[in-house]
């Protein structure tokens, strides 16, 4: 009998939201088996809701070592097609065999949040470059329209560029809010570190 599978298309820039989505699928009895291009999540049906997934961010040169260690501790490594490029590692395991938190101490949590900020910054730079490109093209287009015979195709192109610019800057704003949230978490963890560790 073939295994029942489902593929979900989702784009996340916030790693906390991503892991919440994966674990909501785990709770419905779906186990994560692969992530393709960071947006296609493939799950297989399991008999019970016994799996939990954690997402860990680590320096690229350390990822293999951490993955090997995680395997020894009962986790399965979920292959994803950006292995070796991103700093993200998806680990899944049976609830009865693994802890729901991959890192349990404040120092490691601070490091993890710093890695998360690093990955969001990567996306932010891409949107910033795209935004600058769109602004540049819009200005060039405007100059062209004002100095030549105007026709409707130019207007459509300008509207498209304007919308793209707006989307880019909205995304940059959203990403900066995510970074702010991670920074607040780090601040709280650092405060507790001074007292409790």
């Amino acid at each position: 009998m073939s295994k029942q599978t489902v593929t979900k298309f989702k784009i996340f820039v916030d790693l906390d939201k991503e892991i919440n989505f994966i674990n909501s699928m785990n709770k419905k009895g779906w186990k994560l088996v692969s992530v393709t291009l960071g947006c296609l999540y493939q799950f297989v049906k399991t008999e019970s809701c016994e799996y939990v997934t954690v997402l860990h961010a680590e320096k690229v040169d350390k990822i293999k070592e951490v993955a090997d260690f995680a395997k020894q501790c009962g986790y399965e490594i979920v292959p994803h097609k950006l292995d070796g490029i991103t700093e993200i590692i998806y680990l899944t395991g049976k609830k009865s065999e693994v802890t729901e938190e991959f890192v349990s101490d404040s120092r490691s949590k601070i490091r993890l949040n710093q890695c998360k900020i690093h990955s969001v910054r990567g996306a932010m730079i891409l949107f910033l470059l795209s935004g600058i490109g769109c602004v540049f093209c819009t200005v060039k287009m405007l100059d062209y329209v004002l100095n030549t015979n105007f026709f409707s195709g130019d207007t459509v192109m300008m509207i498209f560029l304007f919308i793209a610019t707006m989307v880019d800057f909205i995304m940059i704003f959203k990403l900066s809010r995510i970074i702010k949230r991670y920074n607040n978490k780090i601040k709280k963890l650092e405060e507790s570190l001074h007292i409790y560790e």
Binding site: Q72, V103, S104, D105
Partner: protein, 104 residues
């Protein structure tokens, strides 16, 4: 003035106690949880970081490596660090009891 003893974190203290006998990563996690009646559940990532540090400082060493399951054991320096920590903790408890009026 007394000798300055570097305090160990709770996680490191229990990891060192666990590797008095050769033990692998998952075994350490289970042992720490058992010793603390489930109060301290080490995450695998935390354990990885702690083991890497302890290996680099020579407080533990690799005992065996079977089927990519590494076992670790405490070294002499590790045992010294553990004994120093025990002394430090005894001092903390005794001072606390004296000042707060608890039983000695």
């Amino acid at each position: 003035m007394g000798v300055k003893i570097q305090p160990l974190t709770e996680a490191v203290y229990y990891i060192l106690l666990s590797v008095k006998q050769p033990l692998h990563g998952y075994g350490i996690m289970q042992n720490v949880s058992k010793l603390t009646n489930g109060r301290l559940n080490l995450g695998a990532g935390t354990l990885y970081g702690a083991i890497s540090n302890l290996l680099s400082k020579g407080l533990i060493s690799e005992y065996s490596n079977n089927n990519s399951k590494k076992e670790y054991i405490i070294t002499e320096s590790g045992t010294t660090a553990l004994n120093n920590e025990l002394e430090r903790l005894e001092e903390l408890v005794n001072n606390g009891k004296q000042i707060l009026g608890g039983k000695q």
